[in-house]
């Protein structure tokens, strides 16, 4: 069993893992029934799913040609930015009150996520 055959099997396993995570995450996006719950599934597509596909691409380039490490850059970028975008989307859910609103803060009037800009307060002072 040569190194090339082992690499080919490793590519197959990585492709199947990445594809399974992409599909399961998207099914979770479609089937869950609450906006905050729906946020949970697709963030795994961006990290493990694409990470496994990029790992398959790296192994493929090492087995069938002279190899490249460029895919690590995309992997690092996605691993850093995926939690940030998930945090922003959950803040949107809190701001639009599509989930349980957090309790009143101890000293200020409202949480900054729930607050409206100052010029809009003057236009609509009822709130």
């Amino acid at each position: 069993m040569s190194l090339e055959i082992i690499g080919t099997y490793a590519i197959t396993v990585c492709l199947i893992i990445g594809t399974a995570f992409a599909m399961i995450g998207t099914i979770g996006l479609l089937k869950f029934n609450d906006p905050m719950v729906r946020l949970h599934a697709p963030t795994k597509v961006g990290t493990i799913g694409i990470g496994a596909l990029l790992l398959a691409s790296m192994i493929h380039s090492y087995v069938f040609s002279d190899g490249s490490m460029h895919e690590l850059l995309i992997m690092a970028f996605l691993f850093v930015t995926s939690p940030i975008s998930a945090n922003f989307i959950s803040k949107v859910n809190i701001h639009r009150r599509n989930c349980d609103v957090p309790p009143v803060p101890p000293q200020d009037e409202a949480w900054s996520t729930l607050d409206v800009p100052e010029d809009e307060v003057e236009v609509a002072p009822a709130k």
Binding site: I11, L15, H60, H70, S85, V92, N98, P117
Partner: protein, 95 residues
């Protein structure tokens, strides 16, 4: 050798089909999504699935050109997600 290569080619065809189906399913959530957060999340998932499809295309063609395309689409997807969420949160993108 031939069995392993056949298995890899079949796995690539399977991966293309399944990631394309995942793209269509996230488009369904984009259309029916009741809240704005769901629509932003569906667009983010579509960008991630598009990255996966381009990575698969790069594996199949054995080309290194698709690396830059993937990196630029990843950056564009992150910036557009943050800009959309920021617009909903603050009513403005750059204050």
């Amino acid at each position: 050798m031939s069995f392993a290569t056949d298995l890899m080619h079949n796995a690539m065809l399977f991966a293309f089909a399944v990631v394309a189906i995942a793209q269509v399913l996230s488009m369904v959530r984009l259309v029916i999504g009741p809240t704005i957060g769901d629509r932003i999340l569906a667009l983010d998932t579509m960008v991630v699935n598009a990255i996966g499809l381009i990575v698969l295309l790069g594996i199949v063609q054995g080309s290194r050109i698709y690396f830059e395309v993937t990196l630029i689409i990843a950056m564009l997807g992150f910036v557009s997600t943050v800009a959309y969420a920021r617009f909903v949160l603050r009513g403005d993108i750059i204050e």
